[in-house]
Assembly symmetry: C2
Homo-oligomer: 195 residues x 2
């Protein structure tokens, strides 16, 4: 089966609906999805953005929240505007790499998105991540110890460099095996068709 | 019939496919479209953007051209990347206001988009606009004289202020009679449904 890479950051707003619907959509399209966590904030910084683009442009930010609410309503997904925004996803992202190694990365990512965008929790707090790991039947402290080992930290940086080399500048992004890039939750169906 | 305002700038890339398909899509949806020319570049400047966002972020710009090509291919629209980019749309936009007064603004706008995005012409050159006006059976010089009268120049500034007050930060944008804002060619169908 053809493969589509799903590049996501756990702090990214539009990655939430994409993460919640990608597996069913891919199955219907006969495509295998490979989840690829990367630090979109590091790419923003490399482009000279001081903050999330939605915070740099207040009118764009107001629009984004309304737009995201409409998207979630249409999909039947619960939505609650996160405070603070953006949230610091670094610890969660390091844990996501470990989770994908263990084969439960998708469940972890969806659980973190739900905590942030539906339950009003702050995923930037270490306790939130530990609690989520425990809820998933993992040993939260052990996973975080592994996640914060120097090799894993540098692996997340390498993966982010790989994303940047693919031309990725935002999340979610989708990349086909032939290197065709699609940006945004809106492009998921088109990306699956291209895959 | 309900009305949807279509806010466009003749220099805006994604406004090209939107302009080419909006009338048929609106007719099918039973919605009347009001075309509203405004200067999106003035809003970018007010937000501190020195240039088109696609030029500020080169990877985003490269992606945009590929994405626009795919959109045009899917719609069967001819596409040729304009040089230079962005093009200076001020004269054309002033003429568009006059053209809408005369009831032929939609034809004019579509003709200008085609010149820029399909025919490799530079709409920032006065001769291009005069030629298009003449092709449409208008007196190009007379229309431009009217377009560049002080009242018409200040009208375009007022309309742009109105767009900004509606929360518009990019083109194309769509606003329903109840003030609901939708941004981007991707949101046209959703905007028509909301109207």
């Amino acid at each position: 089966m053809p493969r589509l890479d799903f590049w996501y950051d756990l702090a990214s707003t539009y990655s939430y609906p994409a993460a919640m619907r990608i597996d069913a959509a891919a199955e219907a399209a006969g495509v295998v999805v490979r989840w690829r966590p990367f630090l979109v904030g590091a790419i923003f910084k490399a482009h000279g953005w001081p903050d999330a683009p939605f915070n740099v442009l207040p009118t764009k930010g107001r629009y984004m929240w309304r737009d995201l609410q409409r998207i979630c309503d249409a999909l039947g997904l619960p939505f609650r505007r996160p405070e603070p925004f953006p949230q610091q996803s670094l610890t969660a992202m390091r844990a996501a790499l470990v989770a994908h190694d263990g084969g439960w990365g998708e469940d972890f990512a969806r659980r973190v998105y739900r905590a942030q965008f539906a339950e009003g929790r702050n995923i930037g707090e270490r306790d939130t991540i530990t609690a989520i790991l425990d809820e998933l039947g993992q040993d939260g402290d052990a996973v975080l110890a592994h996640a914060e080992a120097p090799e894993n930290k540098s692996r997340l940086r390498s993966v982010t460099d790989e994303a940047e080399k693919l031309g990725i500048f935002g999340a979610p992004s989708f990349v086909t095996e032939s290197g065709e890039l699609f940006w945004g939750n809106d492009r998921l169906d088109q990306a699956l068709a291209a895959a």
